[in-house]
Every structure is written in C-alpha cells, then in structure tokens.
Symmetry: C2
Subunit: 125 residues, 2 copies
DNA sequence: CTAAAACCTGACGCTGACGTCAGAGGCAAG
DNA sequence: CTTGCCTCTGACGTCAGCGTCAGGTTTTAG
C-alpha cells in the first residue's frame, strides 16, 4: 500500500491531480485512521488508463461513467453503447489527425525545398 | 466578398470565433468604410485549416506563428524546426491514440461477451 | 524528543477558446 | 421613413483541469 506522494511520482501525475480524480470519482482510496490515503499497486495502472482516456479527449464525467465497465467488465447495454460511440468518435479523430499530419508533411517538404532553392517559391499545385 | 455571417455559416464556425481568430492574428479581413469585415473565398479554406490545427492540439499562438509558413511557403530555419517538432509530436500522439482505440476495442469485445454469456465475467488474461 | 517532510481540507487563481449580453450603427425592402 | 436583420466594439461569464497558498495534523528520520 503506497501513499499519495509515491503514487504521484510513479505515475508522473501531480498529487493535486490525484485528489482531483478522487473528488470526481475516477479513483478511490482507502484511508488510514488518521485520514491519509492508501493505494494498492493496481492504482498505478488505473491512473495510466485515466490519463490515456484524457488524452483521447474524454471528459472526467465520461471517464467516470465508463471506467467501471473498462476495469471490471461490468457493462450494461447503455454503457456498451456509449463505449462504442467513444471508439467511433476516436476513429474519426484519428482519421482527421492523420490527414493533418499529411498536410504538415507536405508543408515541411515544400518549405525545405524553398529554403534550398533560395527563398521564393510557388505551390506544388 | 462575403461578410462575417456568411463565412460563419459556410464554415460552421461561430461569428464570435471568427472575431477571436482575427483578434489573435490567425485571420485578417478587409473593412468597408463603415467598418464591416469582408472576406474573400480563400478565407473558407483558411478557416478549415485553422480548425484542423486546433484539432491537432495546437494553441492559437502556435497556429499564428506557423500559418504564414503553411499558407505562403514562407519558411525560416526556425519555423521549419517548429513545424517539424509539431509533426513529430503529432506522430507520437497518433500512436498513443491508436493504442487507446485498441484498448477500447478489447473492452468492447469483452463487454459484449459478458453481456451474452450472462453478466459476470473474468478478464481475458 | 524534535525538526523536517509528507499529508490533510478548503478555497481562490489561472488559462484558452470561446458564449453571451449591452448599446449603437449600417443596409436592403416596402 | 421605418421595420428588421446584420454588424460593430467592449466587456464580463463559463468551464475543465489542475496550480497554489493557507493553516493545521501526521509520519518519519536522527
């Protein structure tokens, strides 16, 4: 059982953020008689998962709703629906970001050329 | 030449957002003597590009710096460097999001199974 | 036993990308 | 000329995800 500071350093997530997660029911902790939080090893993985979902653009509310399903396999038809919706949303986003990266690649190639051939440059169109 | 309302409806971006973009030098507009903004057709594409970069996680400041390069091919070595950094950052992000989607796929498959076989369910590990 | 380090609960601050409201001017139609 | 919609410039409001400070307790190191 580790305390909040250790969990923070091990996950590279601030203590404040961990308390914030608990406040928003993304994370629970056992308490010692004096009130300090104690976490099991599994909390590390849980934090990583939470961060992953945040990075995917989910809100804390959404994460809170979907987490039980993700961790315990506890799914209702409605949760399954929301989960699928999020995955589809993510797929769409991935396509958009890939397109953006391609755009950047083209711009970079163009810029490199124009820098080499001497400043002024027309488009590739 | 269109006015701000038309540009807004055509790009599905609010009038407020367009003014915000101008305020932050992402977008410029000609003005009629009475002070109304007038945009050329090319503004539509420009807005789409701005939205694309926002979706990629860039800040308005970053977009402002990189836009001249992206639109006009005007690149300095420093801008080129920043551009490349952004692309690499995006590549990393794409990998992470792809991993997240795979996680969601697994969770969904698991949940579907547990719903079919009757509620309780252990992990696939 | 004591000092330092870590933890606790509020509670206010911050940032970015707008939403929204107020008050006033511009413009095509009848 | 007036009605009605569009536009203008401030300027304050909002929301999430924390950062940060205050004031006090607990745990640990020596």
């Amino acid at each position: 059982m580790m305390r909040i500071g250790e969990l923070a350093t091990r996950t590279h997530v601030s203590v404040r953020a961990l308390r914030y997660y608990e406040e928003h029911a993304l994370l629970t902790a056992e308490r010692t008689p004096s009130g300090q939080r104690h976490y099991p090893e599994s909390a590390v993985a849980r934090i990583h998962l939470i961060q992953q979902l945040y990075a995917a653009g989910l809100s804390s509310r959404t994460i809170r709703d979907l987490l039980p399903c993700v961790l315990d396999g506890r799914a209702t038809p409605e949760l399954l629906h929301r989960l699928t919706a999020q995955r589809d949303h993510l797929t769409t986003k991935l396509a958009a970001l890939t397109a953006t990266r391609d755009t950047l690649d083209r711009v970079i190639a163009n810029a490199e050329t124009s820098l080499r051939t001497g400043e002024a440059c027309g488009g590739g169109e």
